[in-house]
């Protein structure tokens, strides 16, 4: 096994310089290959498409209850419940229709930077400055102390920046300030796979929607977005990258936008891109034509997270102003 893992180049005595030349020429070749396919811009292809007509999106709910910046949120698959986490150390599960707070957990740390709803709707995962990701089964008994059933699943060597269940409640994918992403078995807490490649903190991750669900993308402070096979940073622009053309196909930016975007999500058909910004607004972009359709005002501080609901009838935003809003 040891002989198999040693790269063959070492055996043939290649030097560091030869390898550097080879990697430089491969990088150059990759850039040339990608450039050859760049025959048109996305918005040129979309020229004949009708403009999006006026949208009537406005705030329909305001969820108040956190005592400090809301850093992350996630929808339950029932399209009605949400989980949110805050710098105040609390994780809250909300009924988005009635605004009832169904569960609340106080974490042992402040800055709970990541939270996720389990696909079954029966548990939530969260973590942050504790460098861990823990799973809390949601009890139907309102009097039960959720913290008692807490299960520590992921352990990183720096803050937890993102977490997401894969297709089931059994596996958890995490991203961390330690520069890595990792896949964990929830039941045993075992590390199944770790993903090294970023050269700085990893700030976010997202799974490709598919039944087999075996690719995900991560973004980091090294300004790279990596697409990973599972067994396998703040920019003022939003960019659309097509995996099949292996290049960027659209950029969504305006000179008047000088604050960074923190989070994005697509509407159900992919035509609208909702992006939350540090200037407290949410911009709605036409994905095909590249223009900004509207600006949504309401939050009183940075927007940290935006997510469209599972059936696309609304989207939610979380903010440092301690509230969440549901827009429809």
């Amino acid at each position: 096994a040891a002989a198999q893992s040693r790269p063959s180049a070492l055996q043939s005595g290649e030097s560091l310089a030869t390898l550097k030349n080879e990697s430089d020429s491969l990088k150059k070749k990759l850039e040339e290959e990608r450039a050859k396919l760049h025959d048109v811009e996305l918005n040129q292809v979309a020229e004949k498409v009708e403009l999006v007509s006026a949208l009537s999106i406005r705030t329909r709910r305001v969820l108040k209850g956190h005592g400090n910046k809301v850093l992350c949120m996630d929808w339950c698959k029932d399209k009605r419940r949400l989980v949110s986490s805050s710098q105040d150390g609390k994780v809250i599960v909300w009924d988005g229709y009635t605004l009832n707070k169904e569960h609340a957990v106080t974490m042992p740390c402040t800055w709970v930077m990541a939270c996720a709803y389990a696909p079954s709707g029966c548990a939530v995962a969260c973590g942050g400055l504790d460098n861990k990701c823990s799973v809390y089964p949601l009890s139907l008994d309102k009097n039960e102390n959720l913290a008692a059933k807490k299960k520590s699943v992921a352990m990183h060597t720096n803050y937890l920046s993102g977490c997401s269940f894969t297709n089931s409640d059994m596996q958890l994918l995490t991203s961390s300030g330690d520069g890595t992403c990792a896949l964990w078995d929830v039941e045993s807490g075992q590390l199944l796979q770790s993903f090294h490649g970023h050269t700085a903190d990893v700030l976010s991750l997202n799974l490709a929607p598919s039944e087999t669900g075996n690719t995900f993308v991560s973004g980091g402070c090294d300004k790279k977005a990596n697409v990973w096979d599972m067994l396998p940073c703040a920019s003022v622009s939003c960019r659309l990258y097509d995996l099949r053309a292996d290049r960027e196909v659209a950029v969504y930016q305006k000179d008047s936008i000088i604050f960074g975007a923190s989070s994005v999500d697509f509407s159900l058909s992919g035509r609208l891109l909702f992006a939350g910004y540090n200037d407290y607004t949410i911009n709605v972009w036409d994905v095909l034509k590249g223009n900004r359709i509207s600006v949504l005002f309401g939050h009183e501080n940075r927007v940290s997270c935006v997510k469209v609901s599972p059936d696309g009838t609304s989207f939610a935003s979380a903010s440092w102003d301690t509230s969440l809003r549901i827009w429809a």
Binding site: P7, A9, L10, L16, L19, K20, E22, S23, L26, K27, K29, L30, E33, R34, L37, H38, D39, V40, E41, L42, V45, A46, V49, V52, L55, S56, I57, R60, R61, R80, G96, Y97, T98, L99, N100, D242, R244, A245, D246, R247, V249, S267, L268, S269, G270, R271, L272, V287, L288, V308, D311, G312, T313, S314, F315, I326, W327, A328
Partner: protein, 67 residues
């Protein structure tokens, strides 16, 4: 000799070869397929086209919350 530097250089070359071998399509084709997907699904996109009155639970006036 710095063997760990050598090992990561070899890994980088292997990764770049993997990326070079990826099949790619032209942007025009990718763009036209993106557009087709958006237009085909537009009717189901409630945030884009709205929904007939009474079917978006968030647009319904909600029952009074007990304070």
């Amino acid at each position: 000799m710095n063997s760990s530097g050598l090992f990561s250089a070899v890994r980088l070359v292997a990764q770049l070869k993997l990326e070079a071998s990826v099949e790619r399509i032209k942007v025009s084709q990718a763009a036209s397929e993106l557009q087709q997907y958006c237009l085909q699904n537009a009717g189901k996109d409630a945030l884009l086209v709205g929904v007939p009155g009474g079917s978006n639970p968030f647009r319904e006036p909600r029952s009074c919350a007990v304070l």
